[in-house]
């Protein structure tokens, strides 16, 4: 066990435990906050693995944007404060989900652990990873990168169009009621 191993085990235990809490807690808002802890400590795991840029982007995009979006969605859908049993499926479905999750873990572990057992990487030598990533992004990967910016634009416009969607009805009176209700909510 080297120092990096010990640090990675510590960060990984935090990541796995907070991920487990975020899928099992009965508080709706606590689930999003535990997800924040899990993704933040996963950024720490990326740092331990020697990928500073990926860790910082993880902090910026996941912790800074996605979890905040999830919290906003929970507030806009009037998430109940306090423990709430109605957010979980019945116990037999949760048991089946636990069996399937354990099966996924066992499958991936049986594949990855023999593949990676004994493999070590020496990360202590100073290596300029970020300039190499930058050269790769704007060299080899430049067309997928540009396509990704188009995808972000399409997702933004699509989310705006979907959220402005007015569900029309046959009855004009009921349609007016819906429009008035939307006006009241705004």
């Amino acid at each position: 066990m080297t120092t990096r191993d010990i640090v990675f085990v510590a960060v990984g235990v935090v990541t796995a435990l907070s991920a487990l809490l975020s899928v099992t807690t009965k508080h709706v808002v606590h689930a999003a906050l535990w997800l924040l802890v899990s993704l933040g400590s996963l950024a720490g795991a990326y740092l331990v693995l020697g990928q500073e840029l990926v860790g910082l982007v993880q902090l910026l995009v996941y912790v800074g944007a996605i979890v905040v979006l999830v919290l906003f969605a929970l507030m806009l859908t009037r998430a109940p404060i306090g423990p709430h049993a109605e957010i979980d499926t019945p116990w037999w479905q949760r048991a089946a989900g636990a069996v399937l999750g354990a099966a996924t873990t066992a499958l991936l572990a049986s594949l990855l652990l023999p593949l990676l057992s004994g493999a070590t990487v020496d990360l202590d030598a100073p290596a300029a990873t970020t300039p190499r990533i930058a050269q790769a992004v704007f060299g080899t990967w430049v067309w997928p990168f540009e396509l990704l910016s188009v995808l972000l634009l399409v997702a933004l416009v699509g989310a705006f169009a979907v959220s402005r969607l007015v569900l029309h009805r046959e009855d004009p009176a009921a349609d007016g009621a819906v429009r008035r209700a939307e006006g009241v909510r705004r």
Binding site: D5, F8, V9, G12, T15, A16, A19, L20, V23, A31, L42, A45, Y46, L49, G50, Q51, L53, V54, V61, I66, A73, T77, A79, I87, D88, T89, R94, G97, L100, G101, A103, T104, A106, L108, L112, L113, L116, A119, T120, V121, L123, D124, T129, R132, I133, A136, V137, W141, P144, L151, L152, A155, F160, V162, S163, L165, E170, A174, A177, A181
Partner: protein, 156 residues
């Protein structure tokens, strides 16, 4: 130096926890949390594979950045759809029987909205009537500020 079996074990754990989260939740936003955990397991696997020496084109970290961007786009559209579902159905319970009828006489969907609007509308109308009365009084007083008019009424 780091042993790569440790990130591999964390990848397996995160993916299994994410699968459980997708299957065990009824709230649509909490299902998305499970999806995010699965995506992060994939990201960690990409970073682990990319940190091995001799990985070409820096493929591990670059593809991780791509997956993070795609996850941001995905969750934006998914949350917009969830908000439309909430506006339409009043809940985001994924196990509820969906209301596929477009019948305005259905007591579940449009009737509740009508009642809500009526119950919110009537007190507002009453308030409007009283406000109109005070406005006319303000006009009679001349250019007095509304607060001054109210204090004057209280003193009188």
């Amino acid at each position: 130096m780091i042993h790569l079996a440790l990130p591999g074990a964390l990848v397996a754990l995160l993916a299994g926890i994410g699968v459980y989260g997708v299957l065990a939740r009824r709230n649509a936003v909490l299902v998305l949390i499970g999806v995010e955990l699965i995506l992060n397991a994939a990201n960690l696997l990409l970073v682990t594979a990319g940190s091995r020496p001799g990985a070409p084109f820096s493929a591990g970290p670059v593809l991780t950045l791509f997956v993070i961007t795609i996850a941001a786009a995905e969750i934006t559209v998914a949350l917009a759809i969830i908000l439309v579902l909430f506006r339409r159905a009043g809940h985001i319970d994924l196990t509820a029987v969906p209301d596929l009828t477009d019948d305005p006489d259905d007591p579940d969907d449009p009737g509740d909205l009508d009642d809500e609007v009526e119950s919110w509308g009537t007190p507002d109308g009453a308030d409007d009537g009283t406000d109109d009365g005070t406005d006319e009084a303000d006009d009679a007083d001349g250019t007095a500020a509304p607060t001054a008019a109210r204090s004057g009424e209280g003193a009188a």
